[in-house]
Symmetry: C2
């Protein structure tokens, strides 16, 4: 029988930060949940937009043109090629969508390994 | 300045059912919110997966292999070519993602016109 993907249950199954877990696939993209706290690195993705939907907490996406802050139920798409740095003061839970195989730092050498759960 | 997309605010701006509104774009896809109540039509999309994330309410996606029911914070991806029928007993708010231009019924002749808000 088909079953839904419960994002809160998926998020409750791990605790490490900035380490996306794959929870589904959609048109060649990975659907991922991630826990964030602190500052990530400035980076960009030349080939893909970057989708962020906050599920819990508060995420600021710093952009060269200024910051955008997201609370629960708010989303933002960073266009391809645009430099950005995610920052979260409290632990924040996010739904991410990126083409399968996209390095989360923009650089395969420093990227997290994405595991399906 | 960049600004977030607040899904609840977008949903509060219209009241018609089964009429997706475009709230953003991502890698050639439309990000849409829709209000559902009652039964939609059985349909499939030959060329694309169909992404459903329930924001409020309760959605059953009937599939030939059996139904899957989603509450808030739950998602399901109907694979390309798979027949399905969304059904909601109460008014239900959903985030949808489909390639830009995808007819919501699977047939351009009967599809809703998708407006950006």
């Amino acid at each position: 029988m088909p079953s839904p993907v419960n994002l809160a249950e998926k998020l409750a199954s791990f605790s490490d930060l900035w380490s996306p877990r794959i929870v589904g696939r959609f048109n060649g993209h990975d659907l991922m949940v991630v826990k964030a706290r602190g500052s990530f690195v400035w980076h960009s993705h030349a080939e893909t937009d970057d989708f962020f939907l906050v599920l819990k907490g508060r995420l600021t996406i710093e952009l060269r043109e200024g910051p955008v802050t997201l609370g629960p139920g708010e989303l933002y798409v960073v266009p391809a090629g645009v430099e950005h740095r995610p920052v979260a003061e409290e632990e924040t839970h996010i739904l991410l969508i990126e083409p399968a195989g996209t390095p989360n730092t923009g650089d395969p050498a420093t990227a997290a390994v994405k595991v399906a759960i």
